[in-house]
């Protein structure tokens, strides 16, 4: 009854392998690497695979300022997270925000809203830039 509903194909295997390389990359970027690596996987297939992986939480995603989505294999089953970015040098780092997701849907629900999505952005001046007098 509880049969798996995803079949392991050459393409998916190749994508999973490529992802191990780590790092946030766009679907087109991953696709390019696959092709260069000999895989014949099509772009649509890569998009579909990354999408599926994102839905199951196996890959993390972020959206660039150009609207491009970047994917990265999710280490240690962590979820969607946010960034703290330096307004001077642009350096960014991941930050923990375990409760935001829950908070967001709770606040939404309290107001009768469903399908809540959130945007959380933290910026500041990093230690280095502050030291340099900014």
């Amino acid at each position: 009854m509880t049969e798996p509903r995803t079949r392991m194909t050459k393409q998916r295997a190749a994508i999973l392998t490529a992802l191990q390389e780590g790092g946030f990359r766009s679907a087109q970027d991953w696709h390019g690497r696959l092709r260069r690596g000999g895989s014949t996987a099509g772009l649509a297939t890569v998009y579909r695979a990354l999408q599926a992986l994102a839905e199951t939480g196996d890959v993390d995603t972020v959206v660039t300022q150009h609207g491009e989505t970047l994917y990265r294999l999710c280490e240690a089953g962590e979820e969607h997270h946010h960034h703290l970015r330096c307004r001077i040098c642009g350096a960014a780092q991941d930050i923990d925000m375990p409760s935001i997701e829950a908070w967001a849907s709770r606040v939404g629900a309290e107001h009768g809203y469903s399908r809540i999505e959130h945007i959380v952005e933290l910026t500041g001046v990093c230690a280095d830039c502050a030291r340099k007098g900014h």
Copy 2:
């Protein structure tokens, strides 16, 4: 010598006025409001204006999870609040977030960042729109 190089046109004035309404909205959203409000400004013009304003720092921008860019007039340091907005009808309401401000600066400090700023926006589908089947 240092003549300004932007001319104040009806369209730009209308856009600036609309922006005063506050809140993060997409270019298409702002454009829709302008049109409904009687302005004849074209979509491209709205995009160009928002882009210019973002470059001069007069408007803030964030990118949604769908890759849509949202723009908001940059109010000079007044006590800001957060929004919960319906993605269907645009209805929006302010929400309370007593702990976020503190959380933001604490997280920033933990990473050695100073002058922390944050943007938190929530979107969802309001009860009315959900009822209408969206």
